[in-house]
């Protein structure tokens, strides 16, 4: 490097000649462009933009110029350095992008590979459908009530106005629990509950009206297991006791339930029937979930679910028999109520096209797994 020399003629400094600066600049840009890898670019950077590169050396020469020449030379070199810097950065970006693209390609995997490392579990659809039905009512303000599965006959029958020896009592084939030593037959007074209705009586005895409860649970009848019967099954029971409740309220509540569970265009139909614990009593049907009634009178489109009747039988319902209220200490002059109950298996069967009752009983994981966590 030359020593400062104020009399030095800038034009005479070879390295700062404009043509020379341009050449150095172009040489640098060409070297960057020629670099085909980040490593090569790094070498070109050292050679053409590093501390000992021609441009840096030229820059240092500026200091030796007389003041009147410094500005022009500084501008000249500065522009060249900026152009080299931009060129380097641009090439750097280009090469990095190329590298990234290459690496990402190299790292690519087959995302369609299966991953069944830990197979999913599932809850039983009977459990989840019961919860779903219960939740419809919980959202309306009802509470979930429970009762024992081995139940006193009084709760299962007597309190519900099943008169002893009345044929209605034989309609439900009952499992009797053995009594204490020395008693025989059905003398224990304890049965496996044949329906969830005893929870009605328990709820009325436990709570002050108004009572609005829903009761899902397991029930038992002495049927052998086959495609359409099971001795152990599930019901959901509903009870509302309040001042001034009517059959229209029952109908409205049922309509709401089927809408919530099966869609907004669903509705129910009541047909007179007989149950000891309700009076008036009714059988409740809903529009067939599968054919929506379109199979009726349409032999080309028969519906197996409803037998082309257009309606599916859901269960029994009615106004709580005032005798039940009396047996539970509720004043039938002041309060009235409605109740209904239906089988969960049946609902699962037509809602999800289950063909054989045994599939819901046997615990085969292939049946249960697709139902997942909720239904």
């Amino acid at each position: 490097m030359s020593a400062p020399n104020k009399s030095y003629d800038p034009v005479e400094v070879e390295a700062l000649k404009p043509e020379e600066i341009e050449r150095i600049r172009d040489e640098a840009l060409a070297a960057f462009a020629a670099a085909d890898s980040l490593e090569a670019l790094q070498a070109a950077k050292v050679a053409h933009a590093g501390g000992t590169s021609p441009l840096s050396l030229a820059n240092r020469e500026i200091g030796a110029l007389p003041p009147q020449a410094k500005a022009a030379a500084g501008k000249l070199v500065g522009q060249a350095r900026a152009a080299v810097g931009r060129g380097l950065a641009a090439r750097q970006t280009e090469l990095e992008a190329e590298r990234d693209a290459r690496v990402l390609v190299e790292e690519a995997v087959d995302v369609t590979l299966p991953y069944d490392r830990t197979p999913a579990g599932a809850r039983h659809p009977l459990t989840t459908i019961m919860e779903r039905v219960a939740d419809v009512f919980v959202s309306m303000g009802y509470e979930v009530a429970e009762g024992p599965e081995a139940e006193a006959e009084w709760f299962n029958f007597d309190a519900l106005n099943f008169v002893p020896d009345h044929p209605a009592r034989q309609m439900q084939d009952t499992f009797f629990v053995q009594g204490p030593e020395g008693t025989k037959g059905d003398e224990s007074g304890v049965v496996l509950r044949t329906h969830t209705s005893p929870v009605q009586a328990r709820a009325l005895l436990d709570r002050e009206p108004p009572v609005y409860i829903v009761c899902p649970g397991r029930v038992y009848r002495t049927d052998e297991l086959d495609a359409t019967h099971t001795p152990v099954f599930h019901q959901i029971e509903l009870l509302a006791v309040d001042e001034g409740l009517t059959m229209a309220d029952l109908k409205g509540t049922l309509d709401h339930m089927v809408k919530a569970l099966f869609g907004p265009d669903m509705k129910t139909r009541l047909r007179p029937n007989y149950f000891p614990f309700t009076e008036p009593s009714a059988e409740m049907d809903m529009v067939c979930y599968v054919c929506r009634g379109e199979s009726v009178g349409n032999p080309d489109r028969p519906c197996r679910t409803c037998g082309s009747e257009g309606w599916i039988e859901l269960g029994g319902c009615g106004m709580v028999n005032p005798r039940v209220l009396t047996a539970c200490g509720v004043d039938p002059e002041k309060y009235s109520g409605f109740a209904f109950g239906f089988g969960i298996e049946r609902m699962l069967m037509f809602r999800h096209n289950v063909e054989d009752m045994r599939d819901m009983v046997e615990g085969d994981v292939r049946f249960t797994r697709p139902f997942g966590m909720e239904i």
């Binding site: 299966p114 991953y115 579990g121 459990t127 303000g141 006193a152 020896d165 007074g189 002495t222 008036p280």
Partner: protein, 849 residues
């Protein structure tokens, strides 16, 4: 109740084109459950005609006797020539009138008839049996020679050859099959169904019970009713001079058949017919076999009777019986006795004179519903009569029913009605119910108005008086109408349930699910989330399973609640553990080819009380007292909810990602921790031993409640002997615990989060192999003090360099202070303190120290 539409039309003038389906819809609307409408003869096509057998040639060269017949069918075959027919049945003779189906006809079931060669002859049609015509048992004479339901129908001789038999035998009809609910006993009769039909259509009813009945007098057959509460009406009539050879006419047989009853003999057919028509069960006694006065009384304990079904029965003192002077001749309202049975007509082998019953006493009585129900149940004998009495029969129909029976016996059997009419009647007042006129409106939520209410009640048969308050006298045939709501139902159903509006009540704000209910849902979700699939098994078990599960003789789970009437004698008890059911589900899955299994169940287990009591049948006229209710609950077994899991095969599958991992004891124990975490209860896991589990791989699950420890379950690998005994895959693991014992009584308190840096320290401790990790961890925690944020066992190592019977446990400890950055010295000091306490408590030595 099976109701032929043709018969129903006799009482109600239904519109001419009205089909069975139309009537079904109307009846369903008023509350009769018409299950099916059977189309009789829908696919039947003639020619089907009356023929007369001219000749019979017996063909004997075949395996069974075959007849080649010629039959006169008049002009029905177009030629008037005798029709040649091969027939395999034998219960007919030359000259008999039979039913002949000619080629070109189609029998029920789409059975097309054509002339065809059989048994070496050409057969031009068939001589028909009841079965072939879809009629059932014809109850033909000569049943001894191949009659019965497969036997040829032999017609009474008066029918002309060539007559159309489709019409003659009323083969085309519709039959409504109605499932009658227990409250509608009156619909177990044509009269009752006709009444409902008339009301449903708004048409008048021709009540078949409205017939002229002679007044009772003193010359009838003597009857003494000793128990007027059990029998409040007894009508007796006598018919003499019956022709024992008289047979039921076709129309009578056909109606019985269509209604589902078998024709037997004329007298019996008539009593059955009148029962179907009026709903009043009747009995006919052979008068020559009844000795003296007919009585009604309770049986003496141990008294015996042989009923019509041939069964010898020992009577109970509560059974109501019909007697003559020698003893019981019938089980009242259930079944008659064999001794006084009407005798079938039989030719005397010596003289050829036909003998049979000629004089009969007709009983039309009304018995107490409950008494009949109990007797039918006690003797496991449900008859057409008992079915009706236990559901309620119109007590005022006895005299009409008796008269109708007498009329038919006179008309069809050539008998003579005796003038004597016996009627024993216990006095009773008509039953009335008082209701506010707007009661049905209030029950329905519809403003029907008084006029509608009164009109509908009258249609039901009630007499109604009053304005704002109605005094309603209910008809004798509706014993089910007892309460105001019964009357409301009548009004509402006749006005149409389909016309009820739909309104929603407004329940008070509810509290949502209880904590216990939420917990059960959470546990289910968490286990499913951990890869377990829920199974819901039956709670029925056999006690031998306790041996298979290696339970000690005095294990409390061996004490079971048993059923009186289990479905299977192999499984008479209720489960005390979920494992048998869940393991059966595991085995079932395994045998169906699913070998990597993780199942769970939450469900009720049943345990008998220490002292078992019976549950009293309390009254229902008031609320039971608190003591009475407590007494009921104390008679119930203990019932609570358990949760269990079972696992076998791979817990993690092998695959392109690497190796799999078999399910093992640790998964079972972790399942218990998953459950505990969801319940919010702190669960202690320690080594234990219990029946079904591998003694070296069994964790005891413990919770602390009110300062006391309670073992709530076990988890681990099953005992190899259990696995063998139950036929399970090797190394099957299981966990079961008492879910209801896991109830959190505290709300979780949020942890305070420090944002200062963490200081991490590892320590490896060498302990004796039998020192449980849980003890080392507890000592480390306590020794580390409050700076310890978390601690994790990251390696367990055994090897030669440690020495025999030693193991190394390597822990990562994370320290953090709430208020400052810890120095390395502080963290090391805490770690050393932890290791020191572990050394003191468990003999742990810091590895490499």
């Amino acid at each position: 109740m099976r109701v032929p539409l043709s018969w129903l039309r006799e009482y109600v003038d239904l519109p001419a084109g009205e089909s069975g389906r139309d009537v079904q819809e109307k009846l369903v609307g008023v509350g009769l459950e018409v299950e099916t409408v059977e189309q009789l003869g829908a696919d039947l096509k003639g020619p089907l005609v009356v023929g007369q057998v001219l000749t019979i040639e017996e063909l004997t060269e075949f395996k069974k006797p075959i007849r080649f017949c010629t039959v006169d069918v008049g002009q029905a075959n177009g030629t008037g020539e005798p029709q040649e027919i091969v027939c395999g049945a034998r219960n007919f003779a030359v000259g008999d009138k039979v039913v002949v189906v000619l080629p070109g006809a189609v029998l029920p079931g789409g059975f097309a008839i054509s002339a065809r060669k059989t048994y070496g002859k050409k057969s031009h049609g068939m001589i028909c049996s009841g079965d072939e015509l879809g009629m059932g048992d014809w109850g033909s004479p000569r049943t001894e020679s191949g009659g019965g339901s497969g036997g040829i129908i032999v017609l009474p001789p008066e029918h002309e050859v060539g007559t159309d038999a489709i019409e003659l035998l009323e083969l085309v009809d519709e039959v409504l099959d109605i499932a009658v609910t227990p409250d509608r006993g009156y619909c177990l009769s044509m009269r009752g169904v006709a009444r409902e039909t008339a009301t449903a259509y708004g048409l008048p009813l021709r009540d078949p019970a409205l017939i002229d009945v002679p007044a009772p007098n003193a010359h009838g057959y003597e009857v003494k009713v000793a128990d007027p509460a059990g029998c409040d009406r007894f009508t007796a009539r006598t018919v003499t001079g019956l022709n024992p050879e008289a047979h039921s006419p076709i129309w009578l047989k056909r109606r019985l058949q269509k209604a589902g009853m078998r024709p037997i003999s004329l007298a019996v057919d008539i009593t059955n017919y009148v029962m179907l028509e009026l709903g009043q069960p009747l009995h006919a006694y052979d008068r020559s076999l009844v000795e003296g006065t007919i009585g009604v009384r309770r049986a003496e304990q141990g008294e015996k009777i042989t009923t019509l079904d041939g069964a010898k029965r020992v009577l109970d003192a509560a059974d109501l019986v019909i007697t003559d002077e020698r003893g019981p001749i019938g089980l009242a309202g259930v079944m008659g006795g064999a001794h006084t049975e009407i005798a079938d007509a039989e030719p005397d082998p010596e003289t050829g004179e036909v003998k049979g019953t000629t004089d009969v006493v007709i009983e039309a009585a009304h018995f107490d519903q409950l008494s009949i129900a109990r007797t039918a149940r006690r003797h496991k004998l449900s008859s057409e009569a008992s079915k009706r009495f236990e559901r309620g029969v119109d007590p005022q129909a006895t005299s009409a029913a008796a008269q109708r029976t007498v009329d038919l016996l006179v008309l069809l059997a050539g008998g003579t009605a005796e003038a004597g009419v016996t009627e024993v009647v216990a006095p009773s007042a008509p039953r009335t119910i008082t209701i506010p006129a707007d009661h049905p409106d209030k029950v329905a939520g519809v403003a029907y108005g008084r006029e509608t209410v009164v009109r509908r009640l009258q249609e039901v048969g009630c007499d109604v008086y009053g304005q704002d308050t109605l005094t309603v006298t209910v008809p004798s045939w509706r014993p089910d109408l007892t309460d105001p709501n019964d009357l409301a139902e009548e009004v509402i159903r006749l006005e149409g349930y389909e016309n009820l509006p739909s309104t929603l009540p407004s329940p008070p704000a509810g509290l949502g699910l209880t904590e216990r209910q939420r917990t059960h849902r959470r546990v289910g979700r968490a286990l499913a989330g951990a890869g377990y699939v829920e199974a819901l098994s039956y709670p029925f078990i056999g006690e031998q399973v306790f041996d298979e599960l290696l339970l000690e003789a005095d294990d409390p789970n061996r004490r079971v609640v048993k059923l009186v009437n289990p479905l299977s004698d192999e499984e008479p008890a209720l489960r005390t553990t979920l494992l048998p059911g869940l393991l059966a589900a595991l085995r079932r899955n395994d045998s169906r080819g699913s070998h990597d299994l993780a199942l769970f169940e939450t469900g009720t287990v049943f345990h008998p009380r220490e002292e078992q009591r019976t549950a009293v049948r309390l009254g229902v006229d008031r609320r039971p007292t608190a003591e009475e209710l407590a007494g009921l609950d104390e008679a119930l077994p203990y019932q609570w909810r358990n949760v269990a899991v079972v696992l076998t095969g791979a817990r993690e599958q092998a695959g392109w990602w690497g190796k799999g991992r078999p399910a093992d004891w640790a998964d079972a124990v972790e399942a218990a921790r998953v459950v505990a975490r969801e319940t919010g209860v702190e669960l202690t896991v320690r080594g234990g031993q219990y029946g079904p589990w591998h003694p070296g791989r069994c964790a005891e699950l413990v919770v602390e409640k009110d300062g006391a420890e309670k073992v709530v379950g076990y988890a681990g690998e099953l005992h190899p002997r259990v696995i063998k005994a139950l036929g399970l895959p090797a190394r099957t693991c299981a966990m079961e615990l008492e879910l209801d014992a896991l109830v959190a009584d505290e709300v979780l308190q949020a942890p305070r989060i420090s944002t200062f840096p963490v200081a991490t320290q590892d320590v490896a401790l060498v302990v004796d192999a039998d020192v449980p990790a849980v003890a080392v961890e507890a000592a480390l925690r306590e020794g580390a003090g409050e700076l310890l944020e978390s601690l994790r066992l990251f390696d367990v190592f055994t090897g030669e360099q440690l020495g025999e019977g030693k193991k190394s446990l390597a822990y990562a400890l994370r320290f953090r202070a709430a208020d400052r950055t810890l120095t390395v010295d502080e963290a090391s000091a805490a770690r050393d303190a932890a290791a020191a306490l572990a050394g003191e408590r468990t003999g742990a030595v810091v590895r490499g120290a």
